[in-house]
């Protein structure tokens, strides 16, 4: 395959499955500029890895691996900016086509809950929310299925603890 053909194949794969990258960026970055930077970094890493991707694994598994590895391993000065912004400031940056108060409230809580998770917890809960099986999560993260189960239960309890007072607030 010639380099232009390879690039063409790559761009078509990326545009078809770009949702995965956007979701990872949405999980790890709150600021639109940071999301944009991470998106580009993931694209760059995917391109570097593309020649070695022979289709043995599913495209989505390969993309999640690269995207999550990049998001966790990349170093961005997000903390300073994040600390300065309040949750309310961040909520205005979330694209909402039809503003809905209840929906905004839920998104605000979703952000707050996500913000309290560690990088590893974010990766695992994201794969869980995306309906991946324990086996797939184990494959992507490199831990055992049992450990995936233990971690998911722990994150669920943590989220329950965070979300419970918010649920009461909503009622």
């Amino acid at each position: 395959m010639t380099p232009p053909q390879l690039e063409q194949k790559f761009t078509s794969v990326i545009t078809k499955h770009q949702g995965i990258i956007h979701k990872v960026c949405g999980m790890y970055c709150h600021h639109p500029e940071e999301r944009k930077d991470l998106f580009q970094e993931i694209i760059s890493q995917l391109w570097r890895s593309f020649p070695s991707f022979r289709g043995d694994a599913m495209v989505s598994t390969w993309m999640y691996r690269v995207a999550l590895n990049t998001a966790i391993s990349s170093f961005r000065k997000e903390n300073k900016r994040k600390d300065k912004e309040s949750i309310n400031e961040r909520i205005f940056q979330i694209p909402i086509s039809k503003p809905n108060e209840d929906k905004e409230e839920k998104l605000k809580y979703l952000y707050k809950a996500i913000g309290l998770l560690s990088k590893v917890e974010k990766a695992i809960i994201m794969l869980y929310l995306e309906e991946h099986s324990y086996e797939e999560i184990a494959q992507i993260t490199g831990i055992t299925k049992t450990n995936v189960g233990v971690k998911i239960n722990r994150i669920k309890s943590k989220l329950q603890r965070i979300l419970k007072p918010m649920y009461n607030e909503l009622r």
Partner: protein
């Protein structure tokens, strides 16, 4: 809000996020032509800078070897320093290859973190030694060379014009003391500088790996 609601909210949020930020193939092509600011590009820049510095030093030592073949002190010392430069250049090339061969798609998260930590660790070591040790050595050698050249040239013109303020041994002690001071300064400066540049990131990677592997 319970976990099921969280799932629904997540799905709503991500579907809107994907819809709002959708990119076309042409945009992906543009992104491929640009170099994003990542930790790897930052390390590459540092390696390139160090490598250029070593190359420049090697050129200077080659010049000295070529210019003073009959001065045994300068010739032997330059040859030795050239060897040091070649060895460190080899380390930098190896490091560059190791860091740029990291393939996030071929490894799972745990393996990838281990490789990143190991690469960053060895890069930090090389970077530290090259700055904290080579800099004072270079400083010492530079002073010794200029003194030696000055002395040889003075002897050639007029033997009585050899520096008289200090004796040779005193000069040597002064050079060594200055080199020690430079070493102390560079040791702590490099340590703080490296920690600021990569230490926080390395710590974060180690924490992620420890958390991932904990049962």
């Amino acid at each position: 809000m319970n976990l099921d609601e969280l799932k629904t909210t997540w799905t709503d949020y991500t579907s809107e996020l994907v819809h709002e930020n959708e990119v076309a193939e042409a945009q992906v092509h543009i992104m491929l032509s640009q170099q994003p600011e990542s930790i790897i590009s930052k390390i590459n820049k540092s390696l390139l800078f160090e490598f250029s510095l070593l190359f420049l030093c090697s050129v200077i030592f080659l010049f000295v070897i070529n210019q003073y073949p009959e001065n045994h002190f300068l010739f032997d010392f330059s040859l030795m320093m050239l060897g040091v430069c070649v060895v460190f250049s080899g380390f930098f090339i190896y490091q560059y290859k190791a860091i740029n061969s990291l393939d996030y798609g071929a490894e799972n998260l745990s393996e990838s973190l281990k490789k990143s930590i190991s690469s960053l660790n060895s890069f930090i070591k090389i970077y530290f030694y090259s700055n904290a040790i080579l800099a004072p050595i270079g400083f010492f050698v530079g002073m010794l060379f200029s003194y030696n050249i000055f002395q040889v040239e003075s002897e050639g013109e007029n033997e009585s014009s050899t520096p008289t303020i200090m004796q040779v041994d005193e000069y040597l002690i002064f050079f060594i003391l200055a080199a020690v001071l430079v070493f102390v300064f560079f040791f702590f400066f490099t340590k703080i500088y490296i920690h600021k540049l990569y230490g926080v990131h390395l710590k974060s990677l180690k924490e992620c790996l420890a958390e991932l592997e904990s049962a």
